[in-house]
Subunit: 197 residues, 2 copies
DNA sequence: TTAATGTTTGACAAATTTGTTAAACAAAGA
DNA sequence: TCTTTGTTTAACAAATTTGTCAAACATTAA
């Protein structure tokens, strides 16, 4: 077979992502991952050579996905307002599916004192920041350093999902109520960020 | 000696907190902690019996500190506005010193499928939520579910520090610039949250 | 069918990390 | 001083986790 069969390899990788990004189990062992995928642990080594390489690949792909998201959402001829709506919608949906993805990226980059992050190029983020600046110049959104705007936006979207367990505990919110609140946030965040209708 | 000497025990615990909360190394081993504290690893077991118990103690104390913060900041006869300013000031300072404290709490609670979090009682959070509701009734802040208000507030404060490494990478921000931005955020967050001056 | 190639498995080895023990050491009181 | 108690250390044992290997198995092409 010349073209590599992606079945098992993909299964392992997807399972790893589920464990890390969805369940937030950052300490998962290769055994944990293999069990969850229903395969022999040796296959993890067969396809990825080592635990470290599996982690690095998962990290790289997650960063790629983030970059992809950023770039696809900020091209096209939609208005800034519509792009913003779309970004909030897509990013919130993704974060609801994978609330701990960024948490994984943060701990992995801390772990190796190595910043993979700047591979997400200016070519994607800088145009976004420029768009924000333009919109401020037009008076459509409150003037501030565009980087603050971006931090505000991503904070409001990501943090409540990231800290779900804590928030639920602190505020005595049930699981079903929490989902409701998270869905409401899409609209709420847009109104906070882009107030002058 | 009847009263237990807290020297070494406290040193180990403080070092563990520094590693987890300040450096974000959630995977630190007992050896890592002992080395960083400059003591023999056996002492970790002497004082805490096991790694697990050290982790649990650190987790408990971190939750206690959060509860403490919440309760001390929301008693007294300051106006809501002043309390809010104070909360932002104190919480941001704490989070700048310990940006990964919540990250640690989140992963630890995920790890054991156990919610220590609800030990932070209604007795502290509920009065806060009531204050927020009151302020909304007065028309001083935008009306919404007070829980959203609280999530917004903590998101804006915690997330940019939590995701510092990523943000710096994404937006090409230097360390010194980042500190500047974080200090600006205190005022910026207050204005966002409490807009009608 | 047979050979070749790729996949899966269990058994084993190595490495890492945690936990235990006994002995050395230090400080304080009788 | 001597004893007692608490602290620190090194050596060791146990447990966990990662990585390797050869053999079994499956699939495809000649």
């Amino acid at each position: 077979m010349s073209i590599k069969d992606k079945g098992t390899e993909q299964l392992i990788k997807d399972t790893a992502k589920r464990i890390f990004f969805a369940e937030g189990k950052l300490h998962a062992t290769t055994q944990d991952i293999a069990d969850a995928a229903g395969v022999n642990r040796t296959l993890v080594h067969y396809y990825f050579r080592s635990r470290k390489l599996l982690f690095e690949q998962v990290t790289q792909e997650a960063l790629d996905e983030l970059r992809q998201l950023m770039s696809t959402l900020f091209v096209g001829k939609l208005s800034f307002k519509e792009k913003l709506k779309k970004l909030i919608n897509v990013f919130m949906d993704e974060t609801m599916a994978y609330p701990y993805r960024e948490l994984f990226l943060i701990t992995e980059t801390n772990r190796h004192d190595q910043v993979h992050a700047d591979q997400v190029h200016d070519s994607h983020v800088k145009p976004f920041l420029n768009d924000i600046q333009e919109e401020m110049d037009k008076g459509n959104i409150k003037a501030m350093d565009p980087r603050h705007f971006m931090m505000n936006l991503f904070s409001l979207m990501a943090y409540p999902l990231l800290s779900g367990t804590l928030s639920k505990g602190f505020m005595r919110i049930s699981d079903s109520e929490y989902v409701k609140l998270m869905k409401q946030r899409k609209q709420l965040i847009f109104e906070m960020i882009y107030p002058n209708k």
